[in-house]
């Protein structure tokens, strides 16, 4: 039994933090994993970790987003869960992503981009995912201990690398 010191097992501030942050934490994980179900599993894990932690509520937003990105990236690095989910979705004929985006990027390309995301330097990958999940440059900087000026550079490098991944495959076929 973890030593939380809280008899009910819940931090008193967990409820408020959860209601405020859960959608974004899922969104962060979903960008990495491409599957809402897996993303919700990750979010649960992350909030349980937050519940056991002494992270102040005022810093919860950044902490949770970074933890979600790391946890999800760890999952795709193993590759198993993502592949399984996308196969399942494909077998059912369901798009794992909104139709609008399908016009721009194919399902196969999404899989490649996510695999490439797992191979990026970790800080680049996390910065990219947080930025695309709607965190401001200042929030990404604070969460990753970067200077606000270097967030753009980090995100840009990550996007270039992923773009190359797509281009390389497109030209080799």
């Amino acid at each position: 039994m973890p030593a939380t010191g809280t008899p009910g097992g819940l931090r008193p501030d967990l409820d408020g933090v959860f209601r405020r942050e859960y959608p974004r934490v899922v969104a962060v994980a979903a960008r990495v994993l491409g599957s809402r179900d897996s993303a919700e599993d990750v979010a649960q894990e992350v909030f349980l970790a937050f519940n056991r932690s002494a992270v102040p509520a005022g810093e919860a937003a950044g902490w949770l987003s970074v933890a979600a990105a790391h946890t999800a990236l760890n999952l795709i690095r193993s590759g198993r869960r993502r592949a399984a989910h996308e196969r399942t979705a494909a077998a059912r004929g369901l798009p794992v992503v909104p139709d609008v985006a399908d016009d721009v990027v194919t399902l196969e390309e999404r899989g490649r981009v996510r695999a490439a995301l797992g191979r990026l330097p970790r800080k680049q990958a996390v910065a990219l995912v947080l930025r695309h999940s709607g965190l401001s440059y200042a929030e990404v900087a604070a969460a990753l201990d970067l200077s606000p000026g270097s967030v753009g550079t980090t995100v840009r490098r990550a996007e270039s690398a992923l773009r190359e991944e797509l281009t390389r495959h497109a030209s080799s076929h």
Binding site: D13, L14, D15, Q44, A54, R131, S160
Partner: protein, 360 residues
């Protein structure tokens, strides 16, 4: 001048206001930078599309899952309390005094800055009426603001008939004139004793709790530190009917309404101060302001994500009607002459109201 870096161009796409005016002016007039900006924008859009995903979530359901997992992982005692599906089964095994437990919930809420009983209430949804008073008071954030001491026996014991229930509880046992469809037979009568919770405020502990929430503790009013609030609920009596399938079909409970006493400074001062503490949701605070020292009004802070509430008249009294959004459970609660009465069951709101209005 030198060209802005790739990072500056990237930020120009998302947050132009975050880019220096000189850089913006340069880019606007520099064909090389404009071309780089276009490529940057295209890459950002492509990667954004590749990473997009459906992330519509059901926050209340996710909260239930989390709070169940968190409680289960840290408190073996809570393993006995089933999550969603087990609510009704839990009521069968432990048809704890709806009225008494609700009274203790309310009393605890009024004094202890409700942000910790509320998660428990949410965890169990409105089956909080099925929790033992001891469960309700074994809550982390009561301790976060001071000491809580619980005395008395809130557990219910079965008694053979209405007459014994009335004698032991000192209450008139309400009689139901017509049972809802699907509920048959006679009730099981249960009686619970009086429960007293004494809460002693600790400025030091409250300051620590506030700091953990990232906020400063508002200055306590003079005399509050170390003063106590005593909350008394019960005794109570409950009648529980089962349906033909053996599940609980109807609970009618009545208890002496919770009353608060304070040592030293007025209860209202304690309440208002506790209401000002960081972490208390605004809507709950507003409802708690209705809590008075004499138990004459009934604040019913409920998790609006799970439960809908409305107000109805029951024999001239203002009653609060609760229904879970999944329509599994409905309840009506009111206070008259210092007694709190609850009618609850896996019924719809019209059915509980009909039973409530038919009580004799």
């Amino acid at each position: 001048m030198r060209h802005p870096t790739d990072g500056v161009l990237r930020r120009l796409i998302d947050e132009p206001a975050g880019v220096a005016e000189t850089d913006r002016r340069h880019v606007a007039g520099c064909p090389q930078c404009l071309a780089a900006l276009a490529a940057t924008r295209e890459d950002a859009a492509l990667v954004g599309a590749a990473l997009s995903a459906d992330a519509e979530v059901d926050v209340p359901a996710a909260w239930t899952r989390l709070s169940t997992a968190a409680a289960g992982s840290t408190s073996p005692a809570r393993d006995r309390i089933p999550a969603r599906r087990g609510r009704l089964g839990d009521l069968v095994r432990r048809p704890a005094a709806a009225a008494l437990a609700v009274g203790v919930v309310l009393a605890g809420a009024g004094t202890a800055a409700a942000n910790d009983w509320l998660p428990i209430f949410r965890t169990e949804e409105v089956a909080a009426v099925g929790l033992r008073s001891a469960d309700l008071l074994a809550l982390p954030d009561l301790a976060a603001y001071g000491d809580v001491e619980l005395t008395g026996d809130g557990d219910l014991r079965s008694v053979p008939d209405a007459e014994t229930a009335a004698t032991e509880s000192g209450l008139d046992v309400p009689e139901v004139d017509a049972l809802p469809a699907g509920v048959t037979g006679g009730p099981v009568y249960q009686v619970g004793g009086q429960v007293t919770a004494t809460f002693t405020f600790s400025a030091e502990r409250a300051a620590r709790a506030a700091a953990e929430a990232g906020e400063a503790l508002p200055t306590p009013p003079p005399g509050l530190d170390g003063s106590s609030v005593r909350l008394v609920a019960g005794p109570g009596v409950a009648q529980v009917w089962t349906t033909t399938t053996g599940a609980p079909g109807l609970i009618v409970g009545r208890a002496v309404a919770p009353t608060a006493f304070s040592s030293g400074i007025p209860f209202e001062t304690v309440r208002d101060y506790l209401l000002s503490l960081p972490g208390l949701p605004d809507d709950v605070a507003a409802q708690l302001r209705a809590f008075t020292a004499d138990g004459s009004t009934l604040p019913l802070p409920v998790p609006s994500d799970y439960v809908t509430t409305s107000t109805e008249d029951v024999d001239g009294e203002r009653a609060t009607v609760l229904a879970t959004r999944d329509r599994m459970l409905a309840a009506v609660v009111w206070v008259a002459d210092g007694e709190l009465t609850v009618v609850a069951g896996p019924l719809d709101t019209d059915e509980v109201l009909t039973v409530a209005r038919g009580l004799r």
